[in-house]
Amino acid sequence: MTTLTGIPVSSGIAIGKALILKESKQEISKKTIENIDIEKMRFEKARKEGIRQIDAIYKKTLKSLGEEKAAVFHAHKMMIEDMELVKSVENYIEENNCNVEYALHEVTKNLILLFKQMDNEYMRERAADLQDIEGRLQKILSGNVEEDLSHIEEPVILIAEDLTPSQTAQMDTTKILGFITELGGKTSHAGIFAKTLGIPAIVGVNNNLLEKLSNNQKVAFDGSTGEIYIDPTKEQLQILGHKLDEHKEYIKKINQVKGKSAKTIDGFTIELAGNIGNPKEAKYVLDNEGCGIGLFRTEFLYMGKEGLPSEEEQFKAYKSVATLMKEKPVIIRTLDIGGDKQLDYLEMPKEMNPFLGFRAIRLCLKKEDIFKTQLRAILRASVYGNLKVMFPMICSMEELNKAKELLEKAKLELEKENIPFNSNIEIGMMIETPATAVLADLFIKEVDFFSIGTNDLVQYTLAVDRINEHVSNLYSPYNPAVLRLIKNTIEAAKNNNKWVGICGEAASDPLLIPVWLYFGVNELSMSPNLLMEAKWIIRSISNKQLDENIRNILLLNSGSEIKEALIKLNKEIL
């Protein structure tokens, strides 16, 4: 039994026989040639064939892994066609009267060396792209075919010095249980592909892995920790086996709902959207089939900085998300600072009760300049997609009116400056204080939509600071007072034919999803990685069957009883 560790890049457990992939290293020797033109022609022919192969891989990857992952092969194609590379190789052939194989090897060797010396880890790993390309061209020149991983007969754990992006992208996930490589780092393509394919993987195992192992030897590893067991003990296998079963069950569930709509057995649909905290996360929402962004928190623009973000900086951030999401809705929540999130440069006074103090919309309405800069940026970005604006922490009608007034002011300014914006941008508000939940029927007449922020709504309804460990056990979204406020809010919206969503943590709570369906909410917005699980739960539910159950559960008079009943229900339906 030997234990090794590497860099975990794709989670999951793999237990199986090792298959060691030894790249047949091609001996590339220098040969003197007579006819330079023939060598140049061979190079051109090989490049053409290489491009044809890469095009095929690009198409296959586009289908199986999506555009972003396939983009690397687009870059490969450009590298093969690269005029500098072609010129350098042709010059080398001319100057040395040598074969194209040797010229190509020397030219790429120097480039790879250059990449490997760079400070940036990401760039160092791009040397792998060059190696991939050279390998492909050399194989074409020699007439050999690429080590094709699709011919593996029985499931194996692949062990290699390194895997090229094209090898990884073409792996048959039913035959390859996982892979371990000696080289590579956190950002290597192989790892990124493995994650997307759902294959457990560990890279960067620097202990002469290939020499320690032989074909068919038993290997087990945990792709979330980086632990590798060669000839694992019975106990180790038991622990890993159990983890594996759980993981398999989960993956199976998730895969079943991929590509399907979030529809109950009896045909009720619900929109599943993602919460994001910066523009980069928007793509995870799309990856997980989210139908929009239900909550775009904008605090990232303000935090960890020396000063306030400019209108331009904000505009760019909002625009990038709007452009990416296209016609899909993106709800931008205006600045929600204060409470537990402070900005040093604003010199806000220390408060006894920050959650009841100078925060969110209260701060924005006092510091109109800050607020208007943000509103202008959102409005300007609104022409690039389907943006909506949402105000947080509203407690009174005066606050909502003032916020809307400032939005109108920003619109007027832009109009005067001849800057385009969507004048019909939808305006919504968070329902996160009991005051607005109780008066939902009045507030809904003044806005286009509601989004219920359960985290704060629970905290304010039950007067519990959930960061305070002495009282955090009292924090419960199952409390009937909270559920009634949410029900009241959703009903008010529905009675007025308006749209209502939930964007707090409770939105993705498996126990509560049936309750939200029963209430008839339009949308649930959550962290992108929870979207598939939520969809799976929704697709396992029959709304009509649930009705009586939930109605009875909501008659219970305490949070703990409701939670218990929901756990029971959950076990019955899932």
Binding site: M78, M79, E84, L114, D119, N120, Y122, M123, L130
Partner: protein
């Protein structure tokens, strides 16, 4: 010949994707184009070559000088400068 110096703002520097975008844009123009990193005239790169761009190893904050020489030099300079200044839309 005209030239302009811009600052690289995207997090990962000129890696594969921005290099690809830059090269694709540069190839649209007929004029002679050059890139110089942080005024180091000893290493001049060709923006029409993805490998040449990537081998610059340019990181966030680096100053990139673009020179253009030829009929469509103004258009080319403007397009490349904008692409870099906008962080390649990242």
């Amino acid at each position: 010949m005209i030239k302009k110096t811009v600052t690289l703002i995207n997090e990962q520097g000129l890696h594969a994707r921005p290099a690809q975008l830059l090269a694709a844009e540069a190839m649209k123009y007929k004029c002679e184009l050059q890139l110089i990193k942080n005024d180091d005239n000893s290493r001049i790169c060709n923006p029409k070559s993805i490998l040449s761009i990537m081998s610059m190893g340019a990181a966030k904050g680096d100053k990139i000088t673009i020179t253009a020489d030829g009929l469509d030099e103004e258009k080319a300079l403007k397009a490349l400068a904008e692409l870099i200044e906008n962080g390649f839309g990242e």
